[in-house]
C-alpha cells in the first residue's frame, strides 16, 4: 500500500471516530473549537480537516450531546465553549465500549491471521 492510500485510510478511520475523539477531549472540561482541534493534533489526530472538528461539534450540539456558551476572550474574538451534557456523557460511555470491543476484535483477528 503506498503512502497516499495509507493516508487516505487513516483519514477515513479518524473521521469514523472523530465523534468519540471530541467527546474524550471535552470530558476533561468545557473548551472551544480551536483548543479541541489543537488537542487532537497534539494527540496525533492531525489528518482530519480543521473544519471537520467544527462540523462534528455542530452535529453533537444539535444531537443534544453538547451545550455551548459564549465567553469574551482577551486575545481576540469571543469564544464559544462546548461542554458535555448528560446525553454526551452517555454517548461517550457507549462509544468508548464500542471502540474497545472493536479494537479488541481487530487485534485478535490480526494476531490469529499473523500466526496462522
Amino acid at each position: 500500500m503506498d503512502a497516499q492510500r495509507t493516508s487516505g485510510l487513516h483519514t477515513q478511520l479518524l473521521k469514523g471516530v472523530l465523534d468519540l475523539a471530541i467527546l474524550v477531549v471535552l470530558e476533561r472540561g468545557p473548551t472551544y473549537g480551536y483548543e479541541v482541534a489543537k488537542r487532537l493534533r497534539e494527540a496525533g489526530i492531525d489528518s482530519v480537516g480543521e473544519a471537520s472538528v467544527y462540523g462534528t461539534l455542530r452535529r453533537l450540539f444539535d444531537g443534544g450531546a453538547l451545550s455551548s456558551r459564549v465567553e469574551p476572550s482577551e486575545s481576540g474574538p469571543n469564544r464559544k465553549y462546548y461542554e458535555l451534557t448528560s446525553v454526551g456523557r452517555d454517548q461517550l460511555e457507549h462509544s468508548t465500549k464500542t471502540w474497545s470491543t472493536f479494537t479488541d476484535s481487530m487485534n485478535n483477528l490480526l494476531e490469529i491471521e499473523a500466526t496462522a
Binding site: Y34, E50, A51, R59, G76, P77
Partner: protein
Amino acid sequence: MNMNATTTTPATTAFLDAVRIYLSDLPEHEREDLMADIEQHVAEVAAEWDGPLTTILGSPLAFVDDYRQSAHVPVAPPSPEPPPLLDRAVRLVERLRTSDQVSAANVYLHDARPGWWGIRGYIGATSALQLLTGSPSPTTLDPAAHGLIGIALIALSMFLSIHLGRRSQKRTWRRRLAILVNVAVVLLAFTAGSQLRANAMQARHASG
C-alpha cells in the same frame, strides 16, 4: 466581525468572505452562528501562523465541504439558472483572493499600512496648506517651505493619520471615520492640484 488588530488581515477577511459565500444557502442564524466559530478559529490560526492561511485551513471551498460533510449538512443544490458570467467572475475573484501568492501579497500590504497612513497624513496636510496659503507653485510638498509651524502641522497630521489607522482596526465607527478621512484627503489633494493647475495657467497667460 469581532477580531482584534493582531488577527484581522486582508487574508483572513478574504478567507472568511469566501466561506460566507459558500455557506450562503444555510439559514441566516445557522450561518452566522457558524461564522462566529470560524472567525474565532481563523483568528487563532492567523495569530499563530505567518504563512498563507490555506496551508493550514485548505481552500475556503474545501473548508466548507469538509464542514458540511462532518456536520451532515447537505450541499446546496445548484441554482436552476446560474448566471454563468457572474458566477465565473465571482469564482475567479475568490480564487485570486485566496491564492497563496495573493495571500502573501496581502501580508506585505498589511505590514506596509503604517507607511500608507503616514503618506495619507502628509498629503492631507500639504494639500490643506497649499489651499490655505494659495501658493502659486507646489512648494507645500516641501515642509521646510512653511517653517516650523508647517513642519509641526505636517508631523501632527501624519501622527494622527497613523494613530487613526491603528485604532480603526478595532471599532466599526473608527473604520467609518477612516473612510471619511480618506475621501476628505482625496478631495483636498484634488482641489489643491486643481488650484495649482489654475495658478500655472494664469501665470502662463500673464507671461504670454
